[in-house]
Every structure is written in C-alpha cells, then in structure tokens.
C-alpha cells in the first residue's frame, strides 16, 4: 500500500528534509584526510539534535548510529568505525532525520581530498564513477512525475549506470518514505519486470530514490557484524539518494 501524503504532511517533511540537507552539507565539508568515521558520525548526531530534530536511523531496530558510512568497497549500512580517511578514498554518507512524525532520507558519496579544487581538469576514473552516479540520480528524479511508473525511474538509473560500464546492485532498492523509514513502493535501480506492471506514480507520493552501484560486478556480501554490506569483488561502490515528493508539476526534492 503506497501512502499518499497530504499537503500538510508534505510541509512537515519539507522541514525535516531541509534540516537533513543542512546537516549533510556541514558533514560533507568536514570530510578531509585524517578525519575518522566516528568523527563524522558524532558531528552528524550533534547537528541533528542541535537543529531540533531526531535521528531517523536510530529508530531502526538494532541500529545505534545516526549515519551509515560506506567507504570504498562498502556498499551500504557501514557502521561508523575508528579508522581515519585517506586521500583519494571515497566515502558514502547516508543519514536520516525524523521530525514531526515523518522520516526523510538522504545520501551522498564524496572523494576525500585535502583541498577542494574547482576545476575538473584532473578527472580520474573514480571521479568519473561518482559523476555518473550523480547524473543517474538527477535523471531518475526527473522521472518521478505523475503518470510515469516506478519502472521509468529504475530504467533511468540502469541505463546511465550500465552504459558507463558499471553495475547496479540488485538486492538493494530505493523506497517510499514517510511515517516509516521504509515504505512501499520498492524502487529498484534496474528493470526486472515490464514497466507497465510497476506501480503508477501519483501526486503526493514521497519517494527516497537511491542509486546504488559498483565499479566492478554487482555481487555483494554481508560482513560478520550483520550490517555492513560490501562488494564481493572489492571494487568501489557509490551511493546517492534524495527524498522527493511528487507534485502535479513534477518532483520536488525534500532534502534541499
């Protein structure tokens, strides 16, 4: 059952989304070589509380952190650890905020650099990898308008990712978001049944669209801690996610 949110509920989610976006921006600015994952986790936790919201991820049964940190070959659900980030690492920061009874979910992957250079003259293959993921997310979000189907979002993600030679992770999916962190529908990053058979997108739906992809093969494995999911072939993995609401004129990103 896909929950349609009323205009008032969407306004509450917009507030939560705005807070989440601010928290993410500050945490991303702190990503530098020498910073440890736990530093970022504690920073995110403090910022969320300071802005008057609650951590959405702590409401997940069995999860005690405010963020999931996915460095290099970790795909998703990385538990924040003590190790320090190195130059050239990639880190995917996934965070959720709970405000007014509603969740919002957002993730971004970033390259760890000692100085931020604005020119793209030295785009190596890792930068191209991340650029593809961002592009896939933007195209996927554009597909979230009334009259389209979930399959169109999946198709947009799969086309862009696979055209560059990367692989879409199959077992992990985007999802509806609202009173619960994970709601219907499931939004896979690949097309597995006829698009006409996937759910119809309607005005008022709130979707957390995720692009989860690997540089190498799509197979993944779970660590012994029961949460951390890594690529089976050790290749890098990227994660991008935004929570959007579908309106008459198209999608509006809640986490902005």
């Amino acid at each position: 059952m896909i929950n349609i949110k009323s205009k008032e509920e969407v306004e509450i989610m917009k507030k939560g989304g705005a807070i989440l976006a601010q928290v993410m921006r500050e945490v991303l600015e702190h990503v530098k070589p020498g910073v440890s994952e736990l530093d970022l986790e504690n920073l995110a936790n403090d910022l969320i509380l300071k802005k008057g919201a609650y951590s959405g991820f702590k409401k997940v049964e069995g999860y005690k952190y405010a963020t999931c940190l996915a460095t290099n070959d970790v795909v998703v659900h990385g538990l924040p650890k003590d190790n320090k980030l190195k130059e050239g690492d990639i880190i995917g920061i996934d965070c959720g905020v709970y405000l007014g009874g509603f969740h919002t979910d957002m993730a971004e992957t970033l390259r760890v650099k000692s100085q931020i250079s604005n020119h793209k003259s030295q785009m190596d293959k890792v930068d191209r990898f991340l650029e593809t993921g961002k592009r896939a997310l933007n195209e996927a979000i554009k597909m979230a308008k009334p009259g389209n189907r979930i399959g169109h979002i999946s198709q947009a993600i799969q086309d862009i990712i696979e055209r560059e030679g990367y692989s879409v992770v199959r077992n992990l999916v985007g999802h509806g978001v609202g009173k619960k962190l994970h709601e219907d529908p499931e939004i896979p990053g690949f097309v597995y049944e006829k698009i006409e058979k996937t759910p119809l997108i309607k005005e008022g739906m709130t979707l957390a669209i995720e692009v989860i992809y690997n540089m190498g093969k799509k197979d993944i494995k779970t660590d012994n801690d029961g949460w951390t999911i890594r690529t089976r072939d050790g290749s890098l993995s990227g994660l991008f996610e935004r929570s959007v609401v579908v309106t008459k004129n198209g999608p509006i990103i809640l986490t902005n």
Partner: protein
C-alpha cells in the same frame, strides 16, 4: 538507509491451512508459511497441495511468503 528488495522464489505446496494459508516447501527443503495474494483471490485461482507455485519473499522475514503465481 537502503532497503533490501524482495525477491521471488519457487516452491511446492505441501499442505493447505485455513484462511488460504499454505505450507510451502522451497528448493532447499525449508518449509515456510505462505498466504495467497489478493490478485489470485480476486480471480478465484485455486491452489492445492502438490502445485508448483512462485513465492514472493522479503529478506527481513525468511519464514513467510506470498504466493503470486501457480506454475502450470
């Protein structure tokens, strides 16, 4: 936080219980409790023990499933 997607698997119906619940045996021998999907109920598709069926399962509960198709 990413959500683990549901997947489809095949099995053989071992026994039928009240309220269109069925005990189904999967390929690896595990017995799970399945219910009939609403679409099949709507179209009055009968399931009897011995039928081969397609099940939809979630990775979050490995003991339950939903029967979505009766394979000929």
């Amino acid at each position: 936080m990413a959500h683990q997607g549901s997947f489809e698997i095949e099995g053989i119906v071992k026994e039928s219980l009240p309220n269109t619940l069925f005990r189904v045996e999967l390929e690896d021998g595990k017995l799970i409790l399945c219910h009939l999907s609403g679409k099949m109920r709507m179209h009055f598709i009968k399931i009897l023990p011995g039928d081969k069926v397609r099940i939809e399962m979630t990775p979050y509960d490995k003991e339950k499933g939903r029967i979505v198709y009766r394979i000929k």
